[in-house]
Symmetry: C2
Subunit: 340 residues, 2 copies
């Protein structure tokens, strides 16, 4: 592990300054529950002020190394693809993967962090979840590195992240529809406060600008990435007096919802309306019609993030701290020229 | 932890009989790599002969307890539902879940077992994977309990298992189709050497017997549970000179493949052919048409298995060692009376 310039601060110095004993500082460092919240806050504050870094992780366990993989939610194939990539890459290094879910929250609670501190994994992978500055510091002071996969928000420049080029994905999908001849293209994106949703919408707008086609703000919708969001926005869009001839969905699940909405409106895809998804989940080639979608290399992303984490855990600086993998349009059956 | 009658055998006795030192026996018990395969085999053999049981798990780690969840393969929503159920139940007990996949093998390799022995989890959950008698004994001698979820084969009576009533699922799905008026019903099941596949086919046959309808052996197919298996068997069945009017698939993924095969043959579901799936995965209500399917309570199964494991780890005997949860038919859009 890298020792920081400030790494010379000893536990004794921290203890003296916090007005507690050395074993108490040690308990706080190891995420032990038997310290009062107030004492703990004081110790964390002193640790942060000194930019304390434990030298070396020090095994909590005589067993094989572990890494923690934390999801804001795993309820769909997107998560499954990430899990598979991490598990395969970790297995190559003999590292066990401990999986947790935050039940839909984007930021873990302290109890999760305490378990991590006590477990002393080689590092932490955060998938669409992120840490507060205080939480990041707790990991840093224990020399536990972390990497964010597909971040949902802006992060300080030195936080290592792996994602994919969402802007280009939005651009490629929309350009494809414009080239087919569509001029009224709706977009259903993810939540407006999530970075990847905004990047995809910007790509959608740029494609219009490039082609000299005006966008209609009424055709851009924000939702979550679920099937039901796609279904509801799809129903609303397909009920507009001047309905779009194509819908670009922010996820394959949303696209499935749009397909259902089209069926209920008696519209045939792609004859009456084209639909493009996002993610290229394994099922998309099997649904009817097979989905045109943007391939997001989820397994490659999670493999890359795992390798970056292993390097950081060895005290190596990875070649890049910000990795963005390429996205690619996959054309299948659900997109076609608009009806004449 | 329960101590067995034979628990009085000490490590010293084992060491003497195996002709090795006490620390060597200890290394073998803890899955340490620095013991020759031959020495190890000798020690395991003596451990087995004495039915040695370590008293108590003894934490390998000062960190929070872990359990190991092992899949033969996690490549679909079936696995995701199991993972979610286990993670949620384990989190309630403050237990971390270590996830591994056997890359399609139904039986883990020794390297996986060594990692488990070294990790000392509170127990092991095996999903559609199983252990050899020797592997079971390795866990038993370390007092690491295990529970099998949805076993793929026959197991000794004392091995704790949680599954669902596959025979009843097969019966209910087929009876539904017979009641709709179908008389030529095909079935695509899973692999013929997997217990649940056979139970579902038996349910299919019993439904026919109950109704006094003859079955045609040419209409019963065995495959794996993938979309492509459903697609290929679906194409073959729908090309028969006297084609079935309904197809009961062994998984929702297979059913998706059958839907695609029907589209390619120009057949409309359910007008020209009814399709019933199995599992009731979250996506089945969204595909077109929404699938009639057999609900397998996957999250409840994995929650039950986790609770059983926690009880065993505490030295408690669970109320039942063989739990089978009820399956239930969910009727949606893909099944209807046959065309007149």
């Amino acid at each position: 592990m890298a020792s920081q310039p400030s790494g010379r601060t000893t536990i004794a110095v921290i203890a003296a300054e916090a007005g507690v004993s050395v074993p108490t500082v040690s308990k706080v460092l190891n995420g032990r529950p038997d310290v009062s919240p107030r004492t703990r806050a004081t110790v964390e504050e002193v640790l942060a002020r000194h930019q304390y870094r434990r030298r070396g992780r020090g095994p909590a366990s005589s067993g094989p190394p572990l890494l923690d993989l934390c999801f804001h939610e795993f309820d769909n194939d997107w998560a499954l693809e990430i899990i598979r990539g991490v598990e395969a890459a970790a297995a190559e290094h003999g590292i066990g993967v401990v999986l947790s879910e935050l039940g839909g929250r984007h930021r873990p609670e302290q109890s999760w962090l305490d378990a991590v501190l006590a477990r002393r994994p080689i590092g932490v992978l955060l998938a669409q979840s992120s840490l507060s500055a205080g939480q990041r510091h707790q990991l840093e002071s224990r020399s536990i590195p972390f990497v964010v996969i597909d971040t949902e928000g802006e992060l300080p420049k030195d936080v290592p992240t792996v994602g994919s080029n969402n802007w280009h994905g939005g651009l490629a999908a929309t350009s494809h529809l414009i080239e087919l001849g569509h001029r009224r293209i709706a977009m259903i994106s993810g939540p407006s406060d999530v970075l990847c949703s905004r990047a995809r919408v910007d790509g959608y707008r740029s494609a219009h600008d490039n082609a000299g086609v005006a966008t209609d703000p009424a055709l851009v919708r924000w939702g979550d990435f679920s099937v039901s969001a796609g279904y509801e926005h799809g129903l609303a869009l397909l009920s507009l007096p001047e309905r779009p001839t194509a819908i670009f969905a922010g996820s394959d699940l949303q696209a499935l919802g749009v397909l259902r909405a089209a069926r209920e409106r008696g519209l045939e895809v792609p004859r009456d309306v084209s639909v493009v998804g996002y993610d290229n989940l394994p099922l998309t080639e099997w649904v009817g019609p097979a989905l045109t979608t943007v391939d997001q290399p989820l397994q490659a992303m999670s493999r890359t993030a795992t390798q970056m984490l292993v390097a950081l855990a060895r005290g190596q600086e990875p070649p890049l701290r910000r990795v963005e993998l390429a996205t690619e349009l996959v054309v299948r059956e659900s997109s076609a020229p608009p009806a004449a």
